[in-house]
């Protein structure tokens, strides 16, 4: 197999790795935001449900949940496509962690600013979306970056459900060429490059929305 062929296989794998990572991050952000914001409504039974979600999903290994969804659910007649299985396992687990990040960040919003907005006559939802959420997202940047990195690093589990990501391509290449060391080193570098890209992207976003003197958590 030529170098070019190997390169193009790994490149297509990288495409899937990015796809899985982005899909799981999106799931995590949406579910994390939903849990944190719904928790803000202070409805007792709802909060209990949310607490159970974050409690369970933070305690269960990604691979176990992935297998439950992908290999287990078909047993009761529910077959879940591979990418969706990743989103329901890795995505929701990351979401449970992000929910905690967002919740903490919401608590960090200054009460007096909220009271000032109430005193102006703004509604709860206006205050939430004009003051609390924008500040919360800025407070959450370090926590989000942490979680996004974790998602990228767990993404190789995708190969176990048949997604042709970097890991899957590398396994195939290693078994046909018998040059495991070089190949696994190469994909290590590839993951690192994707990580750096993600970092640069987050930094750019953070800079775009940076506010002088706004303290991170």
């Amino acid at each position: 197999m030529s170098f070019l062929q190997m390169f193009s296989l790994l490149a297509s794998g990288a495409g899937y790795t990015v796809l899985v990572t982005v899909a799981c991050i999106a799931t995590a952000v949406v579910s994390g935001l939903l849990v944190a914001l719904l928790g803000r409504l202070r409805i007792k039974p709802l909060n209990r449900v949310l607490a159970v979600y974050t409690y369970i999903f933070r305690g269960i290994p990604v691979l176990v949940l992935l297998f439950i969804v992908f290999f287990g659910l078909p047993g009761i007649g529910l077959s879940v496509p591979p990418l969706v299985s990743m989103m329901l396992s890795l995505g929701l687990i990351a979401g449970a962690y992000l929910a905690e990040v967002f919740r903490g960040a919401l608590d960090a919003v200054d009460e007096s600013e909220i009271m000032a907005a109430e005193a102006m006559g703004m509604s709860r939802s206006q205050i939430l979306f004009a003051i609390e959420v924008p500040q919360m997202l800025r407070f959450s940047v370090p926590g989000m970056l942490n979680e996004f990195t974790t998602v990228l690093k767990y993404s190789p589990f995708a190969y176990t459900v048949g997604i042709p990501d970097i890991m899957k391509q590398a396994l195939a290449l290693a078994s046909t060429t018998l040059r495991g060391l070089e190949i696994y080193l190469a994909i290590g570098l590839l993951y690192f490059a994707i990580y750096q890209l993600m970092l640069a992207l987050m930094k750019a976003v953070e800079r775009r929305f940076s506010v002088p003197g706004f303290k991170r958590l």
């Binding site: 600013e113 009271m115 000032a116 005193a119 002088p212 706004f214």
Partner: protein
């Protein structure tokens, strides 16, 4: 009379803070509320725009008792500008956007209109050249002036101040006193809680002394600060003066 408060009471659980407060505020008047720490001054202000729900009494604002059920509380608050001790500027927004936010959300102004109105109010507070700065980049006095501009932008019927100079050093506090005096010349109605005798003496039309949840005395600056008959009031000012 713009505002008439009758027998207002407020209890938190078993603690009674306000025990029947009466207060009148005429249009264009600037009344100062003083009193020992913890006597319920902040609670009183917050009851008037229902940031805190009073326990009983009447708050008649522009002829209507706003404690009656069915009162549009948000509409009420939009007519009362509130300025806090700790400024409470939205830290993620520039001075300009601190002022435009409510204009956009509550007055439904276009970006251009809100911008023009905000720049006008910031200009009144001598803060126009700081419009693009964020709260963290402003001094305490500058922050408080932005907060006043933010309140004024809504064209409120009255401005409430809760110790507007307590978090400021004397120099910055003078800046704020001078803008409040300016507002007084513009006939803005104001109700101001303060511990600061300098502020009270510079601005007050009348001073109200709140103690143990009731209005213990009310009068002109001279009457209240002079040799008052009530020893508690004399003691309070003797102490405040030595502290100031």
């Amino acid at each position: 009379m713009l505002l008439q408060v009758r027998q207002l009471t407020k209890s938190f659980d078993d603690k009674t803070i306000l025990r029947g407060v009466d207060l009148d505020l005429a249009e264009g008047q600037l009344k100062v509320i003083m009193g020992p720490s913890g006597c319920g001054k902040s609670t009183l202000l917050r009851c008037l725009n229902r940031l805190i729900e009073p326990s009983s009494g009447q708050v008649i604002f522009r002829g209507k008792d706003v404690l009656q059920p069915g009162t549009d509380v948000r509409a009420l608050r939009q007519q009362i500008g509130f300025v806090f001790q700790q400024f409470a500027l939205y830290r993620h927004l520039s001075a300009l956007h601190n002022v435009t936010l409510a204009l956009r959300k509550l007055r439904g102004m276009s970006v251009r209109e809100a911008h023009a109105k905000a720049m006008h109010e910031l200009g009144r507070m001598n803060m126009a050249e700081h419009a693009d700065q964020y709260p963290a980049q402003l001094s305490g006095g500058q922050k408080q002036r932005v907060a006043i501009a933010r309140a004024l932008a809504m064209d409120p019927a009255v401005l409430f101040f809760d110790e507007p100079t307590s978090a400021l050093d004397p120099l910055m506090s003078r800046e704020v006193v001078s803008v409040i005096k300016q507002l007084q010349l513009d006939n803005v109605t104001m109700l101001c809680v303060t511990h600061d005798p300098f502020l009270a003496k510079s601005i007050a039309d009348r001073v109200m002394f709140l103690d143990e949840g009731v209005v213990r005395a009310e009068g002109t600056v001279a009457e209240i600060f002079g040799a008052h008959a009530d020893p508690r009031i004399r003691d309070f000012f003797a102490h405040e003066h030595s502290a100031a």
